[in-house]
Point group: C2
Amino acid sequence: MNRKEISASIITIGDELLIGQVIDTNSAWIAQELNKIGIPVKRRVAVGDSFNEIWSALDEESTHADIILITGGLGPTSDDITKPLLCKYFNGKMIINDEALQNVKYLFEQVFKRPLIESNLKQGEVPDVCTVIQNKRGTAPGMWFEKEGKIFISLPGVPHEMKGMITDSVLPKFSSLFSLAPIIHKTLLTAGVGESFLAEQLKEFEAQLPSSIKLAYLPSYGMVRLRLTSSESEKEINNQFDKLQSLVKEYLVTNVDESMAETVAKLLLRQNKTLSTAESCTGGYIAHLITAIPGSSEYYKGGVISYAYEAKENLLGVSPDTLTTFGAVSEETVKEMLTGALRELNTDYSIAVSGIMGPGGGMPEKPVGTVWVAVGDKTAIRTHKFTFRFDRMKNIELTAINALNLLRKFIIDK
Amino acid sequence: MNRKEISASIITIGDELLIGQVIDTNSAWIAQELNKIGIPVKRRVAVGDSFNEIWSALDEESTHADIILITGGLGPTSDDITKPLLCKYFNGKMIINDEALQNVKYLFEQVFKRPLIESNLKQGEVPDVCTVIQNKRGTAPGMWFEKEGKIFISLPGVPHEMKGMITDSVLPKFSSLFSLAPIIHKTLLTAGVGESFLAEQLKEFEAQLPSSIKLAYLPSYGMVRLRLTSSESEKEINNQFDKLQSLVKEYLVTNVDESMAETVAKLLLRQNKTLSTAESCTGGYIAHLITAIPGSSEYYKGGVISYAYEAKENLLGVSPDTLTTFGAVSEETVKEMLTGALRELNTDYSIAVSGIMGPGGGMPEKPVGTVWVAVGDKTAIRTHKFTFRFDRMKNIELTAINALNLLRKFIIDK
């Protein structure tokens, strides 16, 4: 292909990133969007609110990439030093940008309905050497600089503001400036097999891959994601992806890059079936994974979070005898929770879980990490006992993903 | 204080970080842990699985910091090139480390119960110029190198493996090597006031801060977190933090760095009261925020996720008339949901929410982002209508945080 390879580096600014107070989710989103239009991200760098650190990051990243995308450090308060620094770095002077100033005024008067003060008006200022990227969702304007053949773009760190500006202004401008071909990623998910075992099985497949296609292994939650990446031929990557699918078909969960909840959602939609949940130890997390998907009300009718014995009895009709005899974390209890959810919520399928997520609550015969899961419908119930050995949040996540996978298998096997 | 300032840089390796497939949560955790023992993180860099990129990151980061902490790139599959690269970078040769090899064998035979293959055995190899950091939770050993006064540490990217090795080996070694004083962060959360307005009110406070103490503003979810940071005197930062609290007391939510759910949890524990939830649009997310906290079964008895009308009627006793007359997203409905949850789950307090999270489901009179929240107990109910204007997940998060905040105020005002 006859095009210049354009690459990007992302600089995120903020002490909060370096003390671990905030997790950077912006960079992942930006990387995805840039990839879609054919711009690979070579590096991501986070630096603090320090003049010297930001300055040297600009210097260094421009040796690595053609586009330097900077987020953060543009708020109205005095911990934000990025704008004056950029002005100096590009030898400009500060001027009022009328459109940006009007936007600040409009937002305060019409949307926030809060008094406008001095520091807000300063948000309408930009270096005279930049092209302004208007921010429809917030007060800080974006800035586009060019220097020695490199493009530097500064955007606010607030995710929905940054996203709006990238989508509305930055990406269209890149597409008009450069002749780009999208970078194609194809991802599938396997379950029930280890990374090294898969790699052994895929040795020959990997050896025959053209140099333009790369295979990657991404293990998580006891499952392994396989990803093919190509920036060249869509046809070739599709061919190779078909091959890969047939090689791992025994372990294949899904052939698209989606969450386990999305895989289950698609199955339910396709079959026009409904789902309910009865959660003890996962405390609503399974329901959350499902309801985070737009349109989930089409197949998900609701659920019960039965943390206390009382909730299991009152809302799901679990028998007090069962709870006393076998305990809340038992095959018998999750079966009754399942039956109760199917009945009370009147759904085709249901998932029930009960376990001990830690750090407290473990017993010699039921240590932390013990989980009973039941999935099924009015005619059949399948149960499984898991033993996870991680921290509370990880145990919750693992329980949720594995419970959804168990339901997936139940539906497919029917 | 008479100590050498030791700083760190974190390099994370993996194409998945640069295409946005994975969000880096490791770096935030590492930064927190290093801060606790007095090591500031100056930079965080993510690079792909590329020999040249990793090599140049090692070169560059060693000009920025004393400690270079590398995570990722150590799995058994062929996309992992870090170990041979490190071997070359530090002029070593590969040797078998007996303890690491025994660990690999033990994990496969006793824990995973999977066949051990060639590529797994290679995980027992390390460069002869490193000190091995044993990995009790996985097969990839960690490595500690020293070169020209700088320390380079390579750890696997799997979070719970990396965390175990940092806690068990890396931090104790740092503490014994360096004379460190912890970096102290004190954070408080305000609600109901904008960042710029706060900054205006805190101008004098900021001006009188000693140079060793830094104030930062972290806005999110319509609330603003204020953080003081000091690596010097604990007494002085405590004094300043007291001052800060009294200056913002009108807006103060909590004076510790904790989630809104944790603030509510502490209130409930202190008063020995119980909570239930009745969620429609948040689909279990409020319950998840609460049950993610260890020990939450002491005050949280359970909840209902009433996505469908049927669930609202069957499980919470919402009247079909109310639903027909006012709709699911209405003050009347959330009040009945609340009453139902208080009754069915027999708790002191409850939270009920119903809304339209988008992207679909909006109506002219109830656009996407419309949410009704009710909080209360058997004697009083407080309701509030919110209008959020973000994407589905952000609307869910905002609803959850604001509903918890509403309950917090209800409890405090009682």
